[in-house]
């Protein structure tokens, strides 16, 4: 399908890039990205992916917008307090770019629903705030062969990696199991600088766009860490996809999805 004049103008700054061009923009238009979590990471990622003209964006979140979210979850506004986050996010994305089809899923990801959720999408973005969800997303994406961006943020720090199942190391190659509840602080307990979601969530959107258009090199096989206090980015080379990984090795010991228990403090609003 040819772009309209309006679309050519809307995407002109992409189209002029030799790594993207009309061809890359068409790939974006035809692509489907699923964002799990419409929060600190998911909000900026959703804004940039919608603006970039990703054809279909799915967004999964079971929460409603809370006043304490607005310090960082820039897709929601003060007026949205009390609304479902997925509805508030969808509304903003459609306002930014009416070309985008937004699918909303007002639910938590679980072992029962995640494979169905990710099935129709080309790239998945993990914007969740807890280890059970991060391990679940990793395992499901590895099992389904879906490329995804993993990220985490806390205080003044953030990190991300891109996983291409069967090629690059997965989250479980780095961390075998989730830490026990409360062993590692969460944002709610430890705080997080709002702009960190902007930095890391935008980098996740960048990886999705690069994956779709084929531009440059993905952050597969590397963990990119960012410390805002010292203003240091580090791109740490990861060991290759291990023979020892319980989920992504050629002989996995985890073949069914696991719903790890969520820390009690995380369940409370």
């Amino acid at each position: 399908m040819a772009f309209t004049n309006e679309q050519l103008e809307r995407y002109s700054r992409h189209i002029i890039l030799k790594e993207i061009g009309v061809k890359g923009q068409k790939k974006l238009t035809a692509s489907k990205v699923l964002i799990i979590g419409a929060g600190g990471l998911g909000a900026p990622a959703a804004l940039y992916l919608a603006a970039a003209g990703v054809g279909t964006i799915g967004i999964v979140d079971a929460d409603v917008v809370d006043l304490s979210n607005l310090q960082r979850q820039v897709i929601h506004t003060t007026e949205d307090i009390g609304k479902k986050k997925v509805d508030s996010a969808a509304e903003t994305m459609r306002q930014i770019n009416p070309d985008v089809t937004v699918n909303t899923y007002h639910q938590f990801v679980t072992g029962d629903n995640i494979l169905d959720l990710i099935e129709g999408y080309d790239f998945i973005l993990d914007g969740t705030d807890n280890f059970p969800a991060k391990f679940l997303i990793n395992d499901a994406c590895v099992m389904a062969g879906k490329p995804f961006s993993h990220a985490g943020i806390i205080r003044f720090k953030g990190q991300l990696t891109t996983v291409i199942p069967g090629e690059s190391p997965c989250y479980r190659c780095i961390f075998k199991d989730p830490p026990p509840n409360d062993a590692v602080p969460t944002c709610r307990q430890a705080g997080v600088i709002g702009a960190m979601g902007g930095v890391i969530g935008s980098l996740q959107a960048m990886e999705a766009i690069k994956y779709i258009t084929g531009a440059g090199e993905l952050l597969a096989g590397y963990l990119l860490t960012f410390d805002a206090l010292s203003m240091q980015f580090r791109k740490i080379k990861l060991p290759p996809r291990g023979s020892g990984c319980a989920v992504c090795s050629d002989h996995p010991t985890i073949t069914k999805l696991i719903d790890y228990e969520q820390a009690a403090c995380e369940l409370k609003k």
């Binding site: 979590g37 929060g39 705030d129 990220a151 943020i153 780095i174 961390f175 590692v184 580090r234």
Partner: protein
């Protein structure tokens, strides 16, 4: 001997183990840190027996659970 810890050159004692380095570097939540030496993951059960050598490159990888 000289080793590289998180990208920075460090002078450390000879015969330092990974466990001793974790303590010396005051690693946060040391029970849950993932360690790689020369781009190879070290089993957490063998931190105490894994000796470091001149020029080794050590990385600490931390859990980061936040996102929303």
């Amino acid at each position: 001997m000289k080793i590289i810890v998180s990208g920075e050159k460090k002078e450390v004692a000879d015969n330092l183990t990974v466990a001793a380095l974790i303590e010396q570097e005051k690693v946060e939540t040391p029970q849950y840190v993932t360690v790689s030496v020369n781009e190879e993951f070290i089993e957490s059960g063998s931190f105490a027996d894994r000796f470091l050598h001149e020029g080794d490159e050590v990385e600490f990888l931390y859990f980061m659970g936040g996102g929303k």
